[in-house]
């Protein structure tokens, strides 16, 4: 750890390395990449085309297409239909969207949502502002769920063996099953589910276990480490769950915890975190974030002090940190084995934690062992953070007496022949479990296997019955969020192909095949409301309707101060068990460690057939359509590897073949592998590499002693990072807190040369002038804006090959910049939509006037005029225009039509497109304001990217109004525009990123001494 490993790759041409860079090649000033990416579209020309076209063929095609283009004018007007309702539903106004409050679950994460529907079609999901886990924002998965709903590959028919069957046949089968279970009290019956966050579902399972006392329930969540939940508390049975209040913390230490992006409540965390990252003259303070992690995560990329540490050294770091804080330790001093860099990081973190007692926070990583969680809890208790930055929420067990079993115990029972019936609800252990083959083999021993899920999966193929499950937007339900807030899940559409919700499937097994999910949920809450005296029976209807409207049925701990006071615990004394644990073994650095993590965009593989998520560049690496083994530049140099080189990773006799990808800021001798890729049975076939064969029980999350062998060939990966190369221009601006507050910096930033323009001065128009401000200090680089834009604006998916050619269609891209030494770089994110330049270079070069300026300052792109010369894209200095080289939009697949936003054109081949500032929302708001005679209030128009942003980094509004939020944002000293010197006068501007590394350690000590 901490070796100066980067000597060999620095500056091979002897030129000065740029301060900010996006790819390692850029850092090294390699000519090859510079040439490659100097073309507007990389690979567009040198890519060996599958079709070898000669000159004559080209000419004849040219002539033919010119002739055919003329013919297209000869079409007559199409004849189309209007199909009115027989009986129009009340309140339904064609042409106006309706919103329904609902909620979604993914693993342990629950987010409250508002579903936008057009004539009964759900088309977009937004966050529910009154839900504590959303606060109006959503993550990438919620955005992509709408595509999953309309996915033509979803399971549609009941299948028995190889034949299609019916729900009636299943009800009969369930009847037989129930008869047998009544005889033997359910002996040998096992239910396997994912994480259950639904109170109604818990109650239904409880009912099942009461009726059949010998039946057992197991849960399996592929992307969850089981240990920490159980280890969170010394009390047995009902472990409370920590809820973090990030906004109250001045110093935060993350021990491999991706709390801004990858944890329950991360949207709320991100909002609170960012609220402390916007220093101004009025509020000059900022929080400080310390992160130790193996590979840069979203959270790590925002850190003020980031330590690239092997996953298996985190327990040791936690131990040393605890020691440094002055907690008594019984073991030997743990700090001996740590590298100098890590010791320095720990000292700084400890000093900061000490200084901010009661206002600090230590967050343990989800994939760290229970020990790290114990240590973190002790530190938080010692620092007096309990009750201020950490509160404890009760875990909801739904009144069940026993904890559900694990998959491992289920597999053991199946192998022992103790299981005769297995019902699996929407979980896929035959693909995603460690030793998945063993799970599959054990399942073969079960006499009757039933599977209910959204898709046919590796697991469903092993089952006698496959029951197509309804999507959450098609079913009733309820969900409990991270802080205990409950929401009702309400459907927005009937199941597209007669699928059934999980609750109804369970009810069928329980002998109530006619019970609907709506009844089950409503009855559950009627009982709950009665027992909690939340409402009288007569008032229940009102209570219910209010809950449906608000999307929140019961407030959680963050809204309830009494509960949080009760939830805080006394500081934990240093017990003997903990004392022994304080000195965890220091790992030797030489052995290669494998770290398994859920995929940033595919999670545990459940989204493998979702094209939006496959094509969403993964944070930091920017990889799309597939995964790679992430390694550090030092390790790569030692092994003679370049990004894209195929390697064989071996571990204990098992091996996989996978390309490597070099990540700046990655820990040495650590290989991070993402689960969820390489699924055989998903969407268009296998994408990426399944890393699961390397995992075993007991070594699910990290394991030491892997071997890496170079295979000698390259695997083409579809990374976006080198697209739209910056050519060393000064696009990113980052300051330290001191710089941000200093007057000189502000003055020098405000200093601008006088710029001349060839274009005539635009007359000043009355009426609104739209503009956008993006705060780089708040942006955490999660990518939600990109996918929200895709959902809102009907943006096509192009596929891996087209991504490799640089033809990705996203209107708002997320550029990631690195600063300084690649072994410990600063990391910055920059979302780049259209700049909507006032002097737009694209407009003057269009030969057909397909792009023009509007009175309100929008740079308009008119698809129906565009003839596809691509001059505009050539002339755009920001490279934000996207061209439909092929017919990317799917006009054929029926169900995908249902997803599309009816207010935005679906673009066809040969047409340029780009960000419009969500003009459909602007126009809708303008018309609404005129029809209702009310002026448009500031903040009433939100763009899709702004609405989804968890940190509110994006602000949109009228810059002609000096009081608007966007005008105020732009008036600050941090404001800057890209490529100022070109005088394009962008309407989109940025606020410089501010980091708060603090003073040197010595000064820190001094100030500490002063206060003590």
């Amino acid at each position: 750890m901490g070796n100066p490993v980067f000597v060999q790759i620095e500056n091979s041409t002897g030129r000065q390395a740029p301060r900010y860079w996006r790819t390692l090649a850029e850092y090294r000033n390699k000519e090859s990449l510079a040439e490659q990416s100097s073309a507007e579209f990389t690979h567009a020309i040198d890519d060996p085309s599958p079709m070898q076209v000669g000159r004559r063929t080209v000419l004849s095609y040219l002539a033919a297409s010119a002739g055919l283009a003329g013919l297209s004018a000869c079409t007559s007007l199409p004849e189309r239909e209007i199909v009115p309702f027989v009986q129009q539903p009340e309140y339904l106004v064609p042409g106006k969207p309706r919103y329904y409050a609902t909620a979604m679950q993914m693993g342990d994460r629950v987010v409250g949502l508002l579903a936008e529907t057009h004539l009964g079609r759900p088309t977009k999901l937004e966050g529910n502002p009154s839900h504590p886990a959303s606060l109006g924002a959503t993550g990438i998965f919620a955005q992509a769920e709408i595509l999953t709903l309309w996915d033509p590959d979803r399971a549609a028919t009941v299948r028995r063996g190889r034949n299609t069957s019916t729900w009636a046949a299943f009800a009969i089968e369930a009847g037989h099953l129930r008869e047998r279970m009544q005889r033997d009290q359910g002996r040998g019956f096992r239910l396997l589910t994912g994480a259950v966050r639904s109170p109604s579902m818990l109650a239904t399972i409880g009912e099942l276990l009461r009726q059949f006392p010998e039946a057992r329930w197991h849960t399996f969540e592929a992307a969850r480490r089981e240990e920490p939940a159980a280890a969170g508390s010394p009390s047995s049975g009902n472990p409370p769950v920590p809820v973090y209040r990030i906004a109250a913390a001045d110093a935060i230490v993350s021990l491999d915890a991706d709390f801004l992006h990858g944890m329950p409540g991360s949207l709320a965390h991100a909002r609170e975190f960012a609220s402390r990252r916007r220093p101004s003259a009025e509020q000059p303070s900022m929080n400080r974030l310390y992160v130790a992690e193996p590979t840069p995560s979203v959270t790590g990329s925002c850190a003020d002090h980031r330590l690239a540490a092997r996953c298996d050294s985190i327990p040791a770091i936690a131990g040393v940190l605890r020691e440094e804080l002055g907690l008594p330790s019984q073991g030997p001093a743990a700090s001996r084995g740590l590298g100098a860099e890590a010791r320095e990081w720990v000292r700084k973190a400890a000093a900061d934690l000490q200084r901010n007692r009661g206002r600090s926070l230590v967050i343990p990583g989800e994939f760290q062992p229970a020990l790290v969680h114990q240590l973190a809890n002790q530190m938080n208790a010692f620092l007096g953070n309990e009750g201020s930055t950490v509160v404890w929420a009760d875990a909801d067990t739904g009144g069940l007496s026993s904890e559900p079993g694990t998959l491992q115990s289920l597999v053991e029972d199946m192998e022992a022949g103790a299981v005769n019936t297995l019902l699996i609800l929407d979980t896929n252990p035959a693909y995603s479990a460690p030793e998945a083959k063993r799970v599959a083999q054990a399942m073969e021993k079960v006499a009757l296997r039933l599977h209910a899920g959204l898709y046919e999966t590796e697991t469903s193929r092993l089952c006698h019955w496959n029951l197509p499950m309804a999507h959450f937007l098609e079913s009733w339900g309820d969900l409990r969020a991270f802080d205990g807030t409950c929401s009702i899940v309400q459907p927005t559409i009937r199941p597209l192909k007669g699928q059934k919700p999980a609750l109804e499937i369970l009810a069928t097994v329980l002998g109530a095949p006619l019970m609907t999910d709506a009844e089950i949920v409503r009855n559950h809450w009627r009982r709950e409301a009665a027992s909690n005296r939340e409402s009288e029976a007569a008032e229940f209807d009102l209570f219910w309707r209010r809950s449906l409207r608000d999307g929140v049925i019961r407030r959680g701990i963050l809204f309830n101060s009494e509960v949080s006071a009760v939830g805080s615990r006394a500081p934990v004394e240093n017990g003997p068990a903990v004392g022994r644990a304080v000195a965890p073994p220091i790992p030797s650095d030489s052995k290669i460690e494998l770290v398994f993590r859920p995929d940033p965009t595919l999670y545990d593989g459940r989204y493998a057939s979702n094209g939006w998520l496959q094509e969403l560049p993964k944070p930091i690496t920017s990889l799309t359509w597939g995964n790679a083994a992430l390694i550090s530049a030092g390790t790569a140099g030692r092994l003679g590897l370049e990004s894209g080189d195929a390697v064989e990773i071996g571990l204990g006799g098992r091996s996989i073949e996978i390309p490597v990808w070099i990540v700046p800021g990655h820990a040495e001798n650590s290989v991070v592998l993402h689960l969820g890729n390489g699924r055989e049975k998903a969407g268009g076939g296998r994408v990426g590499v399944d890393v699961n064969p390397l995992r075993t029980w007991g070594a699910e999350w990290n394991v030491r002693g892997a071997t890496i062998r170079k295979l000698g060939h390259q695997v083409p990966l579809a990374a976006r990072q080198h697209h739209q190369n910056m050519e060393n221009r000064d696009l990113i601006r980052s300051w330290t807190l001191d710089e941000a507050l200093s007057k000189e910096k502000a003055a020098s930033a405000a200093l601008k040369p006088e710029l001349l323009s060839l274009y005539p001065e635009r007359p000043v128009r009355d009426g609104p002038q739209w503009g956008m401000s993006i705060d780089l200090s708040a942006c955490i680089g999660c990518g939600a804006c990109t996918i929200a834009c895709q959902a809102e604006n009907n943006i096509s998916v192009v596929g891996a090959e087209e991504v490799r050619r640089g033809r990705i269609m996203h209107w708002i891209r997320l550029d990631t910049y690195f600063e300084g030494d690649p072994s410990a770089p600063g990391i910055y994110h920059q979302p780049v939509p259209c700049m909507q330049c006032e002097n737009a270079p694209c407009e003057v070069v269009c030969p057909v006037g397909a792009t023009a300026h509007s009175e309100e300052g929008l740079n308009q792109m008119v698809y129906n005029r565009c003839v596809g010369t691509r001059y505009c894209s050539n002339n755009c200095p920001y490279k934000v225009r996207r061209f439909n080289f092929f017919q990317y939009a799917d006009y054929e697949t029926g169900s995908l039509k249902g997803q599309r936003n009816p207010d935005v054109s679906v673009r066809s081949r040969g047409v340029m497109e780009k960000c419009t500032y969500c003009v459909q929302r602007i126009e809708a708001a303008k018309i609404r304001s005129k029809v209702n005679d009310q002026p448009i209030a500031d903040g009433q128009i939100v763009t899709a990217c702004q609405q989804v942003c968890p940190t509110e980094a994006i602000v949109f509004g009228n810059i002609a109004d000096p009081g608007s939020k966007v005008s105020r944002a732009k008036s600050g000293s941090r404001n800057y525009t890209l490529l100022d010197e070109l005088n394009t006068r962008p309407r989109t501007s940025y606020l410089a990123c501010v980091r708060n590394p603090g003073n040197d350690l010595a000064e820190l000590r001094e100030s500490e001494g002063g206060t003590v």
């Binding site: 009115p84 309702f85 027989v86 106004v93 064609p94 308009q860 698809y863």
Partner: protein, 216 residues
């Protein structure tokens, strides 16, 4: 060397050049005329419909207000096409056995929707909004023509972009008082020039000719 071309070829080449120019002009004129003709735009063309519904009878004959059927015209982009039940609110009482209303009764009985053929149709890349036009005093008649005189529905105007822009560039030519929006055969008093100017100011009617106003 003898002359390659006969002197007469001078005349021929002049004739050919002139002919080509004339040809281009003629073809352009014909094409222009064709694309603006009712034949191409389907103006005044009646379509085959499941029920031969007569606006003339219902509007001028019975005096039913436009919004009785087109309910959402003031609030939404779509004016709304009446559902089967709206028709049946009268036709369950009158003309209950009329043969040409059989598809309507069939629709109510089976729950199958009526499938009308669109008469006033815009391409998918045009986003027209009824509510704002009503609000700003543009009458139904201005776009849909004398619907009260159409026994079978047909397009009143070409609905081409140039026609839209006529009004968007100078709404004073067409704007009418809000209380006259739904009337047919409205005659401005004193003259449209005078009334138009006043109303444009009163209703703050400032239609845009930006592309994004209609194309998104």
């Amino acid at each position: 060397m003898s002359q390659l071309f006969h002197p007469a070829s001078n005349a021929l080449s002049r004739f050919l050049i002139a002919g080509a120019l004339c040809g281009i002009a003629v073809i352009s004129t014909l094409a222009y005329a064709y694309f603006r003709s009712d034949y191409f735009t389907h103006r005044s063309l009646t379509q085959q419909q499941p029920i031969p519904f007569s606006h003339a009878h219902h509007v001028s004959g019975l005096g039913i207000e436009c919004q009785y059927c087109h309910t959402t015209v003031e609030v939404s982009s779509y004016a709304g096409i009446p559902n089967t039940e709206t028709c049946m609110s009268c036709h369950s009482q009158i003309w209950t056995n009329a043969a040409y209303l059989a598809p309507l009764r069939e629709s109510l009985r089976t729950g199958n929707r009526l499938r009308w053929t669109r008469v006033n149709d815009l391409p998918d890349y045009v986003f027209f909004n009824h509510s704002i036009h009503i609000k700003k005093g543009i009458g139904c008649e201005s776009c849909h023509g004398r619907v009260d005189k159409m026994p079978l529905m047909s397009k009143g105007h070409s609905l081409q972009m140039g026609w839209c822009l006529d009004c968007h560039r100078d709404p004073g030519k067409f704007i009418r008082p809000r209380e006259e929006v739904y009337s047919m055969g409205y005659v401005p008093n004193p003259s449209q020039e005078v009334v138009g100017k006043k109303l444009v100011a009163a209703y703050d009617a400032k239609p845009k000719t930006d592309c994004y106003t209609c194309h998104r």
